[in-house]
Amino acid sequence: MDWFTSHLDDVWRLSVIHAYLAGIPLLLGLVVALPLGWLARRFSWAYPPLIIGTGLLYTLPSLAVFILLPGILHTQILDPVNVLVAMTVYTVALLVRTVADGLGAIPDDVRLAANAMGYRPVRRLLGVELPLAVPVISAGLRVAAVSNVSIVSVAAIIGVEQLGSLFTDGFNRDFFAPIVTGIIACGVLSLLFDVVIVVVTRLLTPWTRARAAS
């Protein structure tokens, strides 16, 4: 506790970096996963390669990715861009299937009605299909958020600072306080992400609660 109170500034600084490294890829990953998920749903031949391919990405060991990416991207090993790119890849890996499933869960009646009313594909996607897929996509995002917060900490091993640095620090000094602090801070951060996603989802989906009101 003493350690925590005396290092409040450090913990705060690392938390902000951690939130940045885990959160930005969540948004970028969503933006990339949306068209890929749509493709997988739109063309049945595209579904297996996209779903299996992106699924495999998630099995890449994170440490290996952090070490190999600078070579591929021609960046410095300590450049946070490496972490952002890696985390975006993991987010995409988790979300493509979610987006495809979310779009696939839209009732046939609704899609049919949209076509019959003269929707063209893009407008139908944005105006009808995506809004209806929000609950499913949001569930996937919550999983990806927790996963990102956890995987980002591994980057401490290659020296990119964030909450994971507390683990390496504590390990090197055989000192538990920073490790416990890091675990708790990661937990709080995950919880915060979750709350933000849940609140935004609620704002976007008033109709899902209408049943109870009737």
């Binding site: 009732p107 009646d109 609704v110 049919l112 009605a113 949209a114 076509n115 019959a116 009313m117 003269g118 929707y119 063209r120 407008r123 009808v128 809004p131 209806l132 989906t205 008033p206 109709w207 209408a210 049943r211 009101a213 009737s214």
Partner: protein
Amino acid sequence: MIRFESVTKEFPDGTVAVDALSLTAPTGKITVLVGPSGCGKTTSLRMINRMIEPTGGRILIDDRDTSTIDAAELRRGIGYVIQHAGLFPHRTILANITTVPLLLGWDKARATSHALELMDRVGLPQSFAKRYPSQLSGGQQQRVGVARALAADPPVMLMDEPFSAVDPIVREQLQDEFLRLQEEIGTTIVFVTHDIDEAIKLGDQVAVLRVGGRLAQLAAPEELLSRPVDDFVADFVGRDRGYRTLGFRTAPFPTSSEPTVRLGASAADARGVTDDPWVLVLDDDDHPVGWVERERLDGTVTRDALHRGGTVASTDGPLRQALDAALSAPSGRGVIVGPDGVFVGTVRARDLIEPIEASAARERAASSADASGDEAGEGAGEGIVVAEPKAL
């Protein structure tokens, strides 16, 4: 006017869903496509707005070949109602109804005020505007479906079994309202159902399709009942055809005067007007309210004492209604009112037989004149028939 010219649909798997279908759906009328499951009704309907493309022949709307019109544009001008309404769950009722007007670029205020007006027309309280579809019953959702289809005032509306999924009482209500609405707005409607009674009730003309997507008969409902062209149509149309045609025939029939009492009269007054065991009761506006049994009366004649079984027929209504009134009256005398609902007299079943026979004879004479007359004459401009001989 919608014209099918020898339209065929063969699906890629070789299924011929519609086979050389030719028919015309006249402007402002209800054309019903009816037939057993899988006979190609839905396929025919969806070819009109190009949700399915024909593989042969063409479809014209007001003489424009639909294949030359951009599909999305075409659809925005055609209302479409499906079985489970297919409302957008994430949009309020109001937003559902304004969908097509907004796609067409109407300004929001105009779309909204028009939508509210339509909610009125289809019998939805305006307080529903901000609700979501899941908060409405099936019947209410179907009304929204109809309002949504009509929201941009399309000249044409397609309906695919719109009332099949609601319970029978609501269905009947929706059908009656639908007929009233159609009378007001005069939209050209193609209506699909597998229910022959619904077809006969709603159709200005009815096209019976057989499996394989071939037109078996296209006729006015009455003609379908009285002159089915073959065993398939006769079977499909079902029992009691002769009796059911009476639902379409009107003819003058004689009525007899009937002693009556008013609501609130004393039992003694009621016994005084007649020796018959049953006495007819009128309200202060001379509208019949029911029969009372002379023997059972005491005190005054109240609504509670009325027999509830009898139906009432109108002098200008179909003969079936008059016959039903006679058969359902506890006295055996059917209660007849004028078009204004004012009591005119009563009629016995036996007095209806002669008018019924006479009307049947007139019908037979008219149809044999038709048949022997100018066969090619296109049914007095009603846009009828023309089943194309299938080329071999």
